[in-house]
């Protein structure tokens, strides 16, 4: 995969996979119930998810973004119950 001018980019992709908002997050609820015992009575909305990082290389950031989103759709997330977000940071440009 090479762009017309032959340049390539490399980026770190940070991927967060979370249960969809409508799906009960049992882990998050347990964590939330545990915090007041440690003195934090001011916490709500705890959700527990997964963080993945990977390095990708390709012709452009837009292309890489698309590829990583495809990875999420096919494999890294189960979109029946999970949603994902991808953020790319270019490295040694």
């Amino acid at each position: 995969m090479t762009s017309s001018n032959g340049s390539r980019v490399k980026a770190v992709a940070c991927i967060d996979v979370m249960l969809k908002p409508g799906i009960s997050d049992v882990q998050g609820q347990v964590v939330e119930r545990s915090l007041p015992a440690m003195g934090w009575e001011n916490v709500s909305g705890v959700r527990v998810g997964k963080h993945l990082e990977l390095v990708v290389e390709g012709p452009s950031l837009e292309d890489l973004q698309q590829q990583v989103e495809q990875m999420c759709e096919r494999f890294l997330a189960n979109t029946v119950i999970e949603s994902y977000s991808v953020s790319l940071t270019p490295i040694d440009a």
């Binding site: 409508g22 799906i23 009960s24 049992v26 882990q27 494999f75 890294l76 189960n78 029946v80 119950i81």
Partner: protein, 220 residues
């Protein structure tokens, strides 16, 4: 004709021997198939057994669904042949999209290894053909991710319901089928209820249904 049933072995499967034993008891010519094979040797039906395929890394069944053998498994499913996924096998079928939905962590976050009473709620499937409607089957479960969740806006065919929902599954679903009823995924282990000295023989009805379905498919 004696039906030929392939039982797929993934790295990390651990129920395949029990499944082969129990299927042979129901008169099937059951044998193992390796997950790396790209064919099922002309099998009439396939069972994906329980275990922890590929360590269940990322998600249960997420890696196993890309095993080479899953191509022929999907072909069999498309042709209307009997395909049964038990426990981890159910999770693999769900990840592969061969049955609708996903299996999440149990409500209560406990690994459950207990006997359950199942109510047969659909007898028109390859796993329940030999059962009576509403019949109760005593079959054990052994899982951490058995909390069945359907895709948004989809109402799947529920084949077995828990009498006492142990894991939070949607509509007490212990097993579901595809639209045709030829692909069934179930969390309980019928092979562990296949001898009286195991505590129950009710699982034999599930496996006998599968074997009987092969014969019907051969006639069709």
């Amino acid at each position: 004709m004696t039906p030929n049933v392939a039982v797929v072995v993934f790295p990390g499967s651990n129920c395949e021997q029990d499944v082969v034993y129990a299927l042979r008891r129901e008169g099937a010519d059951a044998d193992y198939a390796w997950h790396g094979d790209d064919n099922l040797g002309g099998a009439d039906a396939v069972v994906l057994p329980g275990g922890f395929a590929h360590g269940d890394y990322l998600r249960t069944g997420a890696i196993a669904r890309f095993s080479p053998v899953m191509g022929p498994v999907a072909d069999l499913a498309r042709r209307g042949a009997p395909v049964l996924g038990i426990c981890n096998g159910f999770q693999v079928l769900a990840e592969a999209g061969l049955v609708p939905g996903a299996l999440r962590r149990n409500e209560g976050l406990r690994f459950l290894c207990i006997w359950t009473d199942l109510i047969v709620s659909d007898i028109d499937t390859i796993a329940t053909r030999a059962c009576q409607p509403g019949q109760t089957l005593r079959i054990p479960i052994n899982h951490y991710e058995g909390n069945y969740t359907p895709p948004e806006g989809v109402v799947p065919r529920v084949v077995f319901r828990y009498h006492d929902n142990p894991n939070g599954a949607w509509r007490d679903a212990a097993g579901v089928a595809n639209d045709n009823g030829n692909v069934v995924g179930m969390m309980p282990h019928p092979e562990r209820a296949s001898e009286s000295w195991l505590g129950s023989e009710d699982g034999r009805l599930v496996l006998a249904s599968l074997v009987e379905s092969c014969n019907l498919a051969a006639l069709a």
